[in-house]
């Protein structure tokens, strides 16, 4: 089983394309169903910044074609040119880096691990992640936790929210006395709300389709909840709007925002859209005195101040490299052991067959003792012959890749099968129930 990763992210694809490929849970289940068939395993990751498919399959070419077809089917033909593909160890490294938030738009942002775990749970429930994938995920999540606890990457992370605050400062000079409208009441809204409040925003209004959730968040950050229907009235009072809903269509169009400019008395309006698909139509930015930023724009701001985090990020990269090597080593042991068992089995089979043939040909001419000697000799030849290969197959080389296992399987015409025994690695699994 080899690992494959095909997908696109904020690094390779424009927002328009990511919007089209923002998969609904139903679409994810559909893809899982289609790809995770037979011996193949699959995992679908869909966040605002990335859509990725991880597949563990015996034949990667076939699986890759299947995944590309599925993604192009949803994202349109132009999606193909934005897809990246990693195979084998590169795919493993990518999985680890994504989980540890090293590939995130905001390096070190904490949400991605939760999103990866959710994706894994979905795949597991659908039967998509069983052996190889579930072990790889468990190891990736474990190393993500290690990165979090051993580096300051999360603490020093310049989040989307704080980037939004620094942008607001460029428009308003400061947030003191400014009114904030949070549309959506998820994790992003909460983060943004806390940042804006600590930057001095005087009034925070939360509006969410599910009103109870808005009330909850408002209570948590010292704001007020307003019904979702009153969204456009609230827009009249707001200076900063942060959107993060899962709405498939924009909540704010050019016309709907233009309508409030006069009642707002042309005060500048700063709108941040952290949602994919977007909650604010891109044309809104063309209105006089309205500054609408989407996730890609915010990304550009973050890129400005990312140098400070690079030291922690390179520490994290070292941890990831260690963890990937450790995982690969453990996998080699797992894969090496069945080859060994099969090899021995095969040799013993041959020895037994040859002994039976020889003894059959000699007939009753041999005494029991002589028979035993022939059998012992055959076994001894097998043992002597296999002694060195056994020792070598068991020893895992420094770089962690057990090339001998594959070579032995190839040489002796064996099939590298799945591990039977649970590897020691599983002892370090996070608590999300990723045990297989």
């Amino acid at each position: 089983m080899e690992l494959l990763c095909i997908g696109l992210s904020h690094k390779t694809a424009p927002l328009e394309l990511r919007e089209r490929l923002a998969l609904t849970p139903a679409q994810q289940a559909e893809i899982l169903d289609a790809v995770a068939c037979g011996p193949q395993e699959a995992l679908v990751v869909s966040t605002c910044n990335r859509v990725e498919l991880y597949v563990a399959a015996p034949s990667l070419d076939e699986a890759a074609a299947q995944v590309r077809a599925a993604l192009s089917g949803i994202g349109g033909p132009e999606a193909a040119s934005h897809l990246y593909e990693h195979r084998g160890e590169a795919a493993l490294v990518h999985l680890f880096r994504v989980s540890a938030s090293l590939d995130s738009m905001v390096v070190g942002e904490p949400q991605i691990l939760g999103q990866m775990k959710d994706a894994f749970e979905l795949a597991r429930a659908a039967g998509g992640a069983r052996g190889e994938l579930s072990r790889a995920c468990a190891a990736a999540f474990g190393s993500a936790k290690r990165v979090r606890s051993e580096t300051a990457i999360g603490r020093s992370s310049v989040s989307m929210a704080s980037a939004a605050v620094s942008l607001a400062t460029k428009i308003f000079g400061g947030l003191a006395g400014k009114a904030v409208l949070l549309v959506g009441a998820g994790e992003m809204a909460e983060l943004a709300g806390r940042h804006l409040a600590s930057a001095g925003a005087s009034r925070i209004v939360v509006s969410n389709r599910t009103h109870s959730r808005a009330e909850e968040l408002a209570a948590g950050i010292g704001g007020v909840a307003r019904p979702f229907e009153a969204l456009h009235e609230e827009l009249v009072h707001a200076d900063v709007v942060v959107c993060s809903t899962a709405s498939p269509t924009p909540l704010f169009t050019k016309d709907s925002v233009a309508a409030v400019l006069k009642p707002r008395r042309h005060r500048p309006l700063f709108m941040v859209d952290l949602a994919v698909p977007r909650d604010i139509a891109p044309e809104v930015n063309s209105l006089d005195g309205v500054y609408a930023y989407d996730v890609d724009d915010i990304d550009k701001v973050i890129a400005e101040g990312s140098a400070a985090r690079s030291a922690e990020a390179s520490k994290a990269e070292v941890i990831i490299a260690e963890e990937v090597a450790r995982y690969a080593r453990a996998r080699s042991v797992r894969e090496g052991v069945p080859v060994l068992a099969q090899l021995r089995q095969r040799a013993e089979q041959i020895a037994r067959a040859e002994v039976a043939k020889t003894l059959g040909a000699l007939g009753e001419a041999l005494t029991d003792k002589q028979r035993k000697s022939v059998e012992a000799m055959a076994q001894a030849i097998v043992n002597k012959l296999l002694h060195e290969p056994t020792a070598r197959l068991r020893a895992v080389p420094q770089d962690g890749v057990n090339r001998l296992a594959g070579a032995a399987a190839e040489l002796f015409g064996l099939e590298a099968g799945e591990a039977v025994s649970p590897p020691a690695l599983d002892a370090r699994l996070p608590k999300t129930g990723t045990q297989t």
Binding site: K170, F172, G173, R265, R267, P268
Partner: protein
């Protein structure tokens, strides 16, 4: 003495402008203070030169050369005040070169001492001219700030995040500054018009020349702008654009106050 002072002042201004520009690229508190110091030294020398010049000619600047020189002087006075008050050295990178641009023609035009004709010699005239030039300088700074606003607005709107985005003050600060400067300029313009009308009421003849029309037009424009700000909440980009437009009209008024065919003379 006067040419020497003026020349040193001009060089001090140039040094200040260069320091402000360096400060824009590599912001350092010490550099900003050096720049302010250079401008202040220039202002002292320039001010001394202007005073001794005016003392010999009835207390008012005469001719276009002195007009340019005085406007440049007042512009830098206003700018330095703004910079000391709000600590906005980034503005210096734009406004001090602008002041140099105003001063340069003043240096080129021969501005020797002149004597005010008796026909127009009356106590209010120096005040009329001084306030007119102060208003022009305030509106010049306002137009400069409006230009900076437009630059910054383009960065914020276009999401460019370049050097200017990092260094320029926030849109709100620039807009506030624009409001104060336009208000000051408008008041000065109003007083200029009133004192001007006073002259016409006595001896000098008011006629609808380009100077009067341009000044009235500028006054109406800035008056309308302030009204739109106060009563309709106008701000930002359109106000900045109108400020620049209004300043162009003020410049027409300034040039037409001097007889262009006879450089250096008061009409």
């Amino acid at each position: 003495m006067i040419p020497l002072f003026s020349s040193i002042a001009f060089h001090a201004y140039a040094l200040g402008a260069a320091l402000y520009l360096i400060c824009l690229v590599r912001p350092k508190e010490a550099l900003a203070w050096l720049a302010r110091g250079a401008i202040a030294v220039g202002l002292l020398l320039h001010g001394a030169a202007l005073c001794s010049q005016f003392a010999g000619q009835g207390g008012a600047p005469l001719g276009m050369a002195q007009g340019f020189s005085t406007v440049g002087f007042l512009l830098l006075v206003i700018f330095l005040f703004v910079d000391l008050r709000y600590r906005l050295p980034a503005l210096g990178a734009f406004l001090s070169p602008l002041a140099l641009g105003v001063l340069f023609p003043g240096l080129l035009l021969a501005g020797g001492s002149q004597v005010l004709p008796d026909a127009v010699r009356r106590p209010l005239l120096p005040i009329h001219i001084a306030i007119a030039l102060l208003g022009i300088a305030a509106l010049a700074v306002a137009a400069g700030v409006a230009g900076i606003y437009l630059l910054m607005e383009r960065e914020v709107k276009g999401k460019k995040f370049g050097l200017l985005f990092a260094r320029l003050p926030s849109l709100q600060v620039l807009d506030d500054l624009n409001r104060r400067l336009v208000l000051a300029g408008f008041l000065a313009l109003s007083i200029t018009l009133l004192t001007g009308v006073f002259f016409t009421g006595t001896q000098m003849f008011w006629h609808w020349g380009s100077r009067e029309i341009a000044t009235l037009a500028a006054w109406a424009l800035f008056g309308g702008l302030l009204n739109a700000r106060i009563f309709a909440g106008w701000q930002g980009r359109r106000v900045a654009l109108l400020t620049v437009a209004g300043f162009c009209v003020v410049m027409v008024s300034f040039f037409s106050s001097y007889d262009l065919t006879r450089l250096g003379g008061l009409r």
